[in-house]
């Protein structure tokens, strides 16, 4: 205990007692992690509901959806969705999912909860800043949600908010009034929240590692969160000014993104001199790193979970860290591949295409390392393990379609078709969500101290795994047929014959979505009825398993851990158990 007394972080602040300080404005990274996770769950339910409505409309454009009119009288007169309302839902779906689910859950959620524990710290480096980062993000979420209720309704310009559509205001269509402004405000606020979060992650990883936890011994998940926060530090810093300029264009009459001679309804706007391509450059300079902000934590999480169920060390963990880092590095060199047909200088296209293709090398190495880890193992097929395997599968599928879109020539045909939709949903959305599921089934015992229901979990996995393939695989085929995305209905002669495929996708989406309620039920059931979890139910090695479930306020009950081992010593020859905790001082000759 005297040891602990000497440890400042432990005595940084004593456990709060009042409800507000304990659960609402808490500085405890675990509570904040759960808050982020909760926010993500709320956001994902909303986002999924929106996608249901969209899919229904794409399958049966004239189908009245009961109650929709109540939701938005203007958007769905007679319960039938108007084209602009479809676009609003699409925009909100994209924004909510990318910012408030894929960035929030695997990175801010699990990262906040487990990064300090995995490095053996009592809390983040700046608990108060940490609390601020959550509440700022929360305000950003409210700001975005408010877009549903402002006059004119939610924005219709997609999550990329391309100017001029997003910048000229109401004249360019419904939803481009207050809705779009709230969108820009929300994203600007979100950037600030992420900045605070990233600072915290970086400082914690570098400064609060307990004795013996050298960088080489950090778990892969911690590495992923650390590298992600470094990417976020720079990426959101570019989106912030972009959003400010957009807001000025919309409200103060500047023309950063608005060129001369814009004519709406035979009226020429006074704007002059701006460039719509500037917005695309600024947005994608952030936008591409953002894709990796979404996927890298998931990569880290499954790399961390897989060995625990393979009962053997991962293949080349150092190499894997190298892959994650180089993916992060390359992510800043490739944003132009979103702009191949945008009227950008054709020379740049080649310049952006090559590093984009090069990214596939570290990605392939990582995939091969996971597959190679499975070799020669005796795997325990828990739900978490299954989701890891599922991740490897969907990540491979989604990554490979990237080969097509990375090449400007092929992109000229496939750009803005459902092929693109399939690609990024597989490699970024579904993969990241699988990482989130794996993390949930693996860590929930630690987070709430109760085991999740494995049977429900497995059913959930099978439905989801088969479901996502049924939803997104066909999108490749219709994409090859040139099915344009972001269409509210398919009226072109070459699109009408493809509607049956859309009907199939819609049905698959509805079923897969329904399957997610098993997961939600499982979460709630676990929280209140789940069987009590042991401190280390999976026989895992990293530090989060050397404390109680759930961990006490200062994570280790005042103990100052000392780390003696590497992160993943499973199935060690001649060890007392088939695994060696990082904290155990047991010494055996390495296998």
């Amino acid at each position: 205990m005297s040891e602990a007394a000497a440890h400042p972080a432990v005595h940084q602040h004593t456990a709060p007692t009042g409800f507000i300080r304990k659960y609402v404005f808490s500085v405890d990274h675990k509570v904040i992690g759960l808050q982020y996770y909760g926010l993500a769950i709320v956001a994902v339910v909303i986002g999924m509901a929106l996608s249901w409505l969209m899919r229904l409309h794409l399958g049966w454009a004239t189908l009245p959806i009961p109650g929709l009119e109540k939701l938005s009288p203007a958007g769905a007169p007679g319960n039938v969705m108007t084209p602009e309302y479809y676009l609003s839902l699409m925009t909100m779906h994209g924004t909510i999912m990318v910012f408030f689910v894929l960035t929030t859950a695997p990175f801010a959620g699990f990262g906040n909860y487990f990064l300090p524990i995995q490095v053996g710290a009592a809390d983040m480096a700046f608990p108060r800043m940490n609390m601020m980062s959550f509440w700022v993000t929360f305000v950003a979420f409210l700001a975005l949600m408010s877009a549903f209720f402002v006059p004119g309704g939610p924005p219709i310009s997609g999550w990329t908010a391309y100017a001029p559509l997003s910048a000229v205001g109401q004249t360019s269509g419904p939803g481009e009034g207050w809705g779009q402004t709230m969108w820009a405000v929300s994203i600007a606020i979100f950037c600030v929240g992420q900045l605070l979060g990233s600072l915290n992650f970086i400082a914690t990883t570098l400064d609060l590692r307990t004795r013996g936890m050298s960088l080489a011994r950090l778990p892969l998940s911690t590495w992923a969160w650390f590298i992600t926060s470094v990417i976020g530090l720079m990426a959101f810093a570019v989106l912030l000014p972009a959003c400010i300029l957009l807001i000025l264009d919309r409200t103060a009459g500047t023309s950063f993104f608005l060129p001369s001679g814009l004519v709406f309804g035979d009226q020429m706007l006074p704007h002059s001199g701006g460039s719509p391509l500037l917005w695309q450059h600024l947005f994608w300079f952030f936008g591409h790193p953002e894709v990796y902000i979404a996927i890298l934590p998931a990569i880290g999480i499954i790399s961390h979970i897989l060995p625990a169920f393979l009962r053997k060390p991962p293949l080349g963990p150092r190499v894997l860290v190298g892959c994650i880092a180089s993916i992060g590095f390359l992510s800043y060199m490739v944003w132009g591949h979103h702009m191949f047909v945008s009227g950008m200088n054709p020379f740049s296209a080649i310049l952006f295409s090559v590093p984009t293709l090069v990214i596939t090398i570290p990605a392939t190495i990582a995939t091969l390392l996971w597959i190679g880890s499975v070799y020669g193992s005796r795997m325990q097929f828990t739900t978490a393990a299954l989701f890891c395997l599922g991740f490897i599968s969907v990540f491979t599928t989604g990554g490979l379609s990237g080969f097509f879109l990375a090449q400007p020539t092929i992109d000229t045909y496939l750009h803005a078709t459902y092929f693109v939709v399939a690609h990024f949903h597989f490699v970024m959305a579904v993969a990241a969500i699988f990482g989130m599921f794996a993390g949930t089934y693996f860590w929930m015992p630690k987070m709430v101290g109760r085991m999740m229901n494995e049977t429900l979990g497995k059913i959930h996995f099978w439905l989801t795994f088969v479901g996502v393939y049924c939803i997104f695989m066909p999108m490749h085929y219709i994409g090859l047929a040139g099915n344009v995305r972001r269409y509210a209905a398919f009226t072109d002669n070459f699109l009408v014959p493809l509607i049956p495929v859309h009907k199939f996708i819609t049905i698959a989406a509805l079923l897969t979505g329904a399957a997610q309620f098993l997961f939600l039920f499982n979460l709630i059931w676990t929280r209140f009825r789940g069987p009590k979890a042991a401190d280390n139910p999976w026989g895992a090695t990293s530090l989060e398993w050397s404390t109680t479930s759930p961990p006490p306020f200062d994570n280790f009950g005042g103990r100052q851990l000392v780390v003696h081992q590497e992160a993943y010593l499973y199935g060690v020859e001649g060890a007392s158990a088939d695994f060696i905790m990082q904290t155990s001082s047991e010494t055996v000759e390495k296998p």
């Binding site: 400082a203 959101f236 500047t254 023309s255 950063f256």
Partner: protein, 209 residues
């Protein structure tokens, strides 16, 4: 802010791994913030450059007097505030709380002076008819937009810094903050200074008549 001094020690307490930089977390976080903010400003300056290169009718209205002269005075004030900031950090390191506080206030005052000079110039330009979307000389309206955005964001940083300095000065005297907090604030203040080193040539001199 009190986390700063607490985790300040963690870097070296025997119970922890040493930080690879051997600096307190607060300082590291400030460096990271500076990095991020530098990217923000460069993005803004690149946007300004992009629009300028794309505009055939860019106007370069700044006369030597008053604009450039005023800019020089502002530069002088800001650089001097950097010097006083250094003095305060040095004093704080040497443990001279009173002197440190005094220098902090001096920095604060110079920062405020800079802000005032800046606002006066803004007023003059707005009276001349400049605005976010107005250009009295009839050239590209992007000039006003870029000018007020870039300098505006910088001014925001200055004002924020002035308040931060005041708070630190008060707290440092009462021992609420320690020398590390002063040093961290110093890094921020010098960064604001550093940004101006790009704003002055790129926004003022490049637009001198």
């Amino acid at each position: 802010m009190s986390e700063l001094e607490l985790s300040a020690e963690t870097g070296h307490a025997g119970l922890m791994e040493g930080s690879p930089y051997g600096i307190p977390s607060g300082k590291l976080a400030m460096w990271c913030f500076v990095l991020s903010d530098a990217v923000t400003f460069s993005a803004l300056l690149f946007a300004y450059g992009y629009l300028r290169v794309g505009s055939p009718d860019w106007s370069t209205p700044f006369l030597f007097s008053p604009s450039i002269v005023n800019g020089l005075v502002m530069t002088f004030v800001l650089l001097s505030s950097g010097l006083t900031m250094l003095a305060s950090v040095e004093a704080a390191k040497a443990g001279h709380t009173a002197a440190g506080t005094r220098w902090l206030w001096a920095t604060c005052a110079l920062g405020a002076l800079f802000a005032v000079l800046h606002l006066l110039e803004w007023r003059r330009m707005i009276e001349e008819g400049w605005g976010l979307f107005r250009n009295p000389t009839g050239g590209s309206t992007e000039f006003g937009a870029a000018f007020f955005c870039v300098t505006g964001l910088h001014l925001l940083h200055v004002v924020g810094g002035v308040f931060a300095l005041a708070i630190i000065a008060l707290g440092f005297r009462r021992g609420k903050y320690n020398r590390i907090d002063v040093e961290v604030t110093g890094i921020y203040w010098h960064f604001v200074d550093l940004v101006w080193m790009f704003v002055f040539p790129l926004v003022y001199l490049m637009n001198a008549k």
